[in-house]
């Protein structure tokens, strides 16, 4: 296994379950496996053996090759600041009133924090397989563009424009309001805020060199990764999955497979309902068969269009959370088992 396995897709389609299932499957084959997860459902978290945010990789008591860690984007951010900024500046940054805002509201930041963690664990060379359940940021694709975006935010166009090219000293920052365009911003926001934000951005700028070289390394991991796109057969996540196929080759690699979660058995489409079947049961099968047919059309169209292997994960009334049934998901899906 050369690079990490990145499990992507729209929110709510079952990325976390798929990541966990892959991890269990790999670990059961004796591979040292780490799954890095974000916000799992409670039962799944306890099955994986991680129940606190920000936890360091922990080996599963029932399956020692299986390690799991849960990402806490906000805490990771503090780590990033401390890693890339001088200590006194890092202190100022993490206590700043703007720090929380930029970590929570800049959509790429949570993705970046996850990507940097991923890179750390891959480089640790302690695991044969690192599986990343990517954060459900809007657009999903941000996980891949985040390193670039963040480097640009901190060192790029906006800040250069504000400061006029070179890194200014603090005194120059206070003169920002003398520039005509900024005078108007000043009028809008009040000079006090402008000054406070400016010095925060100035501090943030000190992380630029570190972030930039780290971003390059992270992108190298992306290029070596195996990307899986998880979706259901509903129109919105399918559209989202299509976006991954269009955009991903430029920033990472073309997805290795698309995983259709909540798939219904295709044979339901062709069943002759036996005589004497209770009417509600017959009606019920007809409904689900219609849905199975719709799903199959969606899958066929997708795989024809993007020429990609399709894995199917069966719809179950409750998402599986024990190790056996997680493992079975991968074994039954065909394509996924071959990836490991």
């Amino acid at each position: 296994m050369s690079g990490p396995i990145l499990v992507t897709g729209a929110g709510g389609v079952g990325k976390t379950t798929v990541s966990a299932a892959l991890a269990v499957h790999a670990a059961r084959r004796g591979l040292e496996t780490l799954v890095l997860t974000v916000d799992p459902a409670k039962r799944l978290a306890s099955a994986l053996g991680v129940e606190t945010l920000g936890a360091e990789p922990t080996a599963n008591p029932e399956l020692p090759h299986l390690w799991a860690a849960m990402l806490d984007a906000e805490a990771s951010w503090e780590e990033i600041a401390r890693r890339h900024a001088p200590p006194d500046v890092a202190d100022r940054l993490v206590t700043s009133e703007f720090f929380r805002s930029i970590t929570r509201h800049f959509p790429a930041s949570q993705s970046y924090a996850a990507a940097e963690k991923m890179a750390d664990y891959v480089e640790a060379r302690r695991w044969d397989v690192v599986i990343v359940d990517t954060p459900p940021a809007a657009g999903g694709i941000e996980f891949f563009t985040a390193p670039q975006e963040l480097t640009e935010l901190v060192g790029g166009r906006l800040f250069r424009w504000l400061t006029g090219g070179s890194i200014p000293g603090r005194r120059e920052l206070f003169n920002l309001a003398a520039r005509p365009a900024l005078r108007i911003v000043d009028l809008a926001l009040g000079s006090d805020l402008l000054e406070r934000v400016s010095s925060f951005l100035f501090d943030l700028r000190s992380t630029y060199d570190g972030l930039r070289s780290r971003a390059t390394e992270i992108e190298r991991h992306f290029k070596k990764s195996v990307v899986l796109v998880v979706t259901t057969s509903d129109p919105a996540p399918v559209a989202e999955a299509a976006r991954f196929f269009q955009a991903l080759p430029a920033v990472a690699r073309a997805p290795a497979a698309v995983v259709f979660n909540r798939a219904l058995p295709t044979e339901w489409e062709k069943v002759d309902i036996p005589d004497g079947t209770a009417r509600p049961l017959a009606r019920n099968l007809a409904l689900w068969a219609r849905e199975a047919r719709r799903q199959e059309t969606v899958r066929d169209e997708f795989s024809a269009r993007y020429r990609v292997p399709v894995a199917r994960i069966a719809w179950q009334a409750t998402a599986p959370t024990d190790l056996d049934s997680l493992d079975a998901l991968v074994a039954d899906s065909g394509v996924l088992a071959d990836l490991l």
């Binding site: 459902a41 911003v185 009040g190 209770a278 179950q316």
Partner: protein, 277 residues
Amino acid sequence: MLIVTGKGGVGKSAVTAALAVDAARRGLRVLAIGMVEGQGLAGHLGVEKLTYQPAEVRPGIFAMAINRPAALDEYLRLQLHVPKFSRIGPIARAFDALASAAPGIRETVTMGKVLFEARTREWDLVVADAPPSGQIGSHLRAPRTISDLVGAGRVREQTRWMEEWLNDPVKTGLVIVSTAEELPAIETVETLAWLEHEQVVDVASVITNRTLEPLGASVPADVSAPIGAAAALHDGIFHEQQRWLATLPDGPRLPYLFGVTGPVEVTERLADVLEER
């Protein structure tokens, strides 16, 4: 005005479109606003994409999408009275740079546009396909965040009417869309608790999407044959849903739509159910 939120993947855009269609069927003049790029509102209204200028997408329904540069430009001119002159680009860029660091500013620009449209009185109803519930708090709280953060300046003056408008239950209601599954239900309950605490907006309704009817028979003993397997799946999902529905407040329940392919058909079918209520 209705602001529609919910956990990602629950069908916010479909419900937003259905609310618009339902209102239009009752003769109201409706504006549907997509607040987040890439959400499926356009598709559910049967158009390829939405523009910043409201356009009539079907009789009685106008729709638009907020794009940040356009909204910012308009905000600077109309709300902050920055004159339109050739340097609006640099100003907007500077503003945007600051807005990425200062909490509440981007959200104020986006919410400001929605509220501004609601205030024009050109529409009987404005429905906004809002950011997911994970981010809705910062949008709803944006006016207050800014008045806490900024001592003076025009942005602060602007936030006062926004806060009042959001706070007024006659003018603004929040619709939370959920499904009867673990994570969406938990997030809905958490959002409700946050709203109870913050009191920034009135909750008009919690709509649960994709709910199943009871099977209406008992599950056969043989669950390997399709009849039994489909019954067991249905019954299993139904009971799992009941468990999460019990944690949610009462509100409209929209059905799971079996075999429906097109996003517009989804909208129509959901609007039919809303109309029956």
